[in-house]
């Protein structure tokens, strides 16, 4: 069964897990949220800093498994520097990928490293892990007024 395992734990995921990008809570932010996965207790505290409709920073402190940690790191890479609309579109695409039960073909152009999560979509119990920080980011961005 380690083929399946390898589909889940792609090298990219394990790399992000070991060396997460953008980790840590930074001072400049308009909104901070705290999300938990009630099933397993995984937690993330996440802050967004927006300026002029651009995601200037996403800073976070997360406790959780490799999948949830790596997905926060990938989120950071994908949304920081983008304008909010673009970032929301990426969010939407990642959501579609994760909820596709393995049937959605990811677009490397937009999703970059996040395409490594295609394998996660086949593990229903892990989809929530992958989505934890992404849901937190959307929530925080909306709170920061970024959805207008």
């Amino acid at each position: 069964m380690s083929q399946d395992l390898d589909a889940l734990y792609q090298e990219i995921i394990l790399d992000h897990y070991k060396n997460p990008h953008g980790k840590g809570l930074r001072e400049e932010f308009e909104a901070e949220v705290h999300h938990v996965n009630p099933t397993c207790g995984d937690e993330v505290t996440l802050r967004v800093h927006l300026s002029d409709g651009v995601v200037d920073d996403v800073s976070y402190d997360a406790l959780g498994c490799s999948i949830s940690q790596a997905s926060a790191s990938v989120l950071y890479d994908l949304v920081v520097g983008k304008n909010v609309d673009e970032a929301m579109a990426i969010h939407e695409e990642f959501l579609t990928l994760m909820q596709g039960k393995g049937s959605v073909e990811p677009d490397e152009e937009t999703l970059e490293d996040a395409i490594a999560f295609a394998g996660v979509a086949k593990f229903p119990a892990r989809v929530k892990c992958a989505l934890l920080s992404w849901m937190a980011w959307k929530d925080a961005t909306v709170q920061a007024g970024g959805d207008r």
Partner: protein
Amino acid sequence: MSVPALPGLLPELEVVRKDFPILERTLAGGVPLVYLDSANTSQKPQVVIDAMVDHLERHNANIARAMHQLGAESTAAFEEARDKVAAFLNARSRNEVVFTKNATEALNLLARTIELGPGDNVVITEMEHHSNIVSWQLACERSGAELRWFGLTDDGQLDLSNADRLVDENTKVVAFTWVSNMLGTINPVADLCARARAAGAVSVVDASQAAPQLVVDVQAVECDYLVFTGHKVCGPTGIGVLWGREELLNELPPFHGGGEMIETVTMARSTYAKAPHRFEAGTPPIVEAVGLGAAVEYLGHLGLDVVHAHEQAITAYALEGLQTVPGLTVLGPLDATERGGAISFELDGVHPHDIAQVLDSRGVAVRAGHHCAKPAHARFGVQSSTRMSSYLYTTPGEIDALVEALEYTRSYFKLG
């Protein structure tokens, strides 16, 4: 038994009957079973039993919390059942479907969580099942709210003549049954819901007797909450459903505290998940949900409209047959198109217990007593009654057997 050609009967009735293993049972003395107590609980088709056995023998695990393959299979089966029930009710969202223990728990959940206070009132009806009476009596006792009710007309309909006075600006809840389990009456659900809405109250529909035999569409009747119970729709015991509009459910405070309903817990305080999980504390009825899912799917395959037509055909045939029995009086509407399949009646000179006993000796299973509707009995000045209730597997021949058994009862008790 040869089946008289009755328009509206379920096509392939004899084949459908084969789906229900218990219908092959014989009783004491080798008498075949004539099961006319389906309003009390329905029988279970083989697919429901098989779905439960397959789950127990191959997929059993706790849900949500378990990350392994069995856990994923069990969770998927449980959540698929929620989808099936959502489709059965035409719910807007699966999050609107809360699994409870039975209809009674669903009603009590609402009676415990909808906020009430002195000056408020709750309006019910005189034809409710005890579950939809006592739950609100207790809620009113706790909160100081006032309990009011619609009375009944002599022909077993809701008396709506004072409706404008009953449902007023202080009404918080209007709770009523869609189909009466004693009188068979079908109530004007959409109208009552609209009346509640106009008064700023929430409507609570008890669909325990409707769900087995009518198309239940929560969007069409525009109710706020609706409940039904698994064991009357070909499903197992141990499961019921509370459906509620998602935004309303998410405003209710938690009901029971425990696993699965939380977001986070510290010793000092906790925060709670959204609906439906907020209301599903503890290990839910997993294999029961699987059974219920299979049951509503089974009904869907037959078609609720077809089931309803069958029920109406049998009910008309039964009303006709019963009225040939001297001294027999039916309680409730006499027009089959206006009622459900439960028919309560009195027989002059024989007490319901004694009727049920004699019928039972001939294999005919009916219910005798107050059917958990004492106030409705009191309204008609009777203390108890005998009730026959058919379902999708009932044949005209079984109704004939009932009528013959009633004739025999009269002769056994030496009534002219």
